[in-house]
Amino acid sequence: MNGRIVARAIFETRPAAEGNTAWVDVQVHPQFRRRGLGTALADQLETLATEDHRTSLVVYAVSKAAAGERLRSPTGFGSVPAGNAEVRFLLDRGFRLEQVNRASRLALPLAADIVDGLVEQSQQRASPDYRLHQWSGRTPDRWLDDMALLFTRMSTDAPKADLDVPEDVWTRQRLIEYEDRAETGPKTSVISVVEHRPTARLAGITELGVSAEPDRPVSQNDTIVLKEHRGHRLGMLLKAANIRSLQSTAPGHPSIITFNAEENQHMLEVNEAVGFSAIGYEGAWKKVLAPS
């Protein structure tokens, strides 16, 4: 508008063999809303999706807190303000609310006695069958296959409501190539994993994405404990141990930010016990398109 970029839309897909969903996003600068920009971009996205033979659209939209009537998630967990502009916009365009996600923040540094206590308590709860390993950056060669499995399970085991999330298969080679690219990227990974000693296989992982600039927040990336290893307090062990590692190797960041599905009650309870608190919510919405 007048030579300035004031809105953007994103269209993101996976190979058609992995499903017919397109992940979309429309963002209009707050100073340029109510001028038809969002509608024009959304129309473009739907045209693009139809041309690309996509049959469902998924969008994640921030919903600011507001009083009044609520639109509840069909998962039974969480809701968004029914009167918000983005909610009315999406409903008018035929989207359905599928899931509510919580954004949470942990202020850093976490006191050493608190984080040490959390690590110690969770280690006592975990069986001696489990052993912690930690690193930054590239995955050690011995764990490449296990890490590929854990990342694959993130796409199948995380709560996904009715959002048509396809299995995202990771292999040793794909992980190597991803880490080749990441080495030139702007963030470093700080990783903690637990090994199941009787099988010498990894049972869980958590990963923090750390910017080089110490004044930027750290992003909490994947956390998963394989289903067959749950119930041993490994999620808390991983989280607390990784925060301790972060504070040791990359101190000075102001916070950690994480997003969780509101129905992921176990992970939310772990996060709250560590000290995370909610800073906002977003809806995950889906629209089913007529086949082209």
Binding site: M1, N2, I5, V6, A7, R8, E12, W23, V24, D25, Q27, V28, H29, P30, Q31, R35, G36, L37, A40, Q44, V58, V59, Y60, V62, S63, K64, N101, A103, R105, F151, M154, S155, A158, K160, L163, V165, D168, R181, A182, T184, G185, P186, K187, S211, E213, R216, S219, Q220, N221, D222, P254, S255, I257, T258, F259, N260, A261, I279, G280, E282
Partner: protein, 78 residues
């Protein structure tokens, strides 16, 4: 009255990659992409009430994006 235009661009792999100039114009040095990230950051700050969710443009390039495709932003769902 429509007083805006829409233009399609791709997400560059790097902001300093001269090959990326092809898709957006000869004078591309990342300015337009950076402007789209500024829009993203403004909307995130408005929605969450904090600028802590802002992302520097390199984090939103393809090489700096996340593994997951299930959240179209520079952050991701745990």
């Amino acid at each position: 009255m429509t007083d805006f235009t829409l233009e399609r661009i791709a997400i560059p792999a790097h902001l300093d990659d001269p090959d990326e100039a092809d898709f957006i114009g000869a004078d591309f040095i990342g300015a337009d992409f950076i402007a789209t990230v500024e829009v993203r950051n403004a909307t995130e700050a408005d929605g969450y009430g904090t600028e802590e969710l802002s992302a520097p443009p390199p984090n939103c390039c393809r090489s700096g994006s996340t593994r997951s495709t299930n959240r179209s932003s520079c952050l991701r769902l745990e």
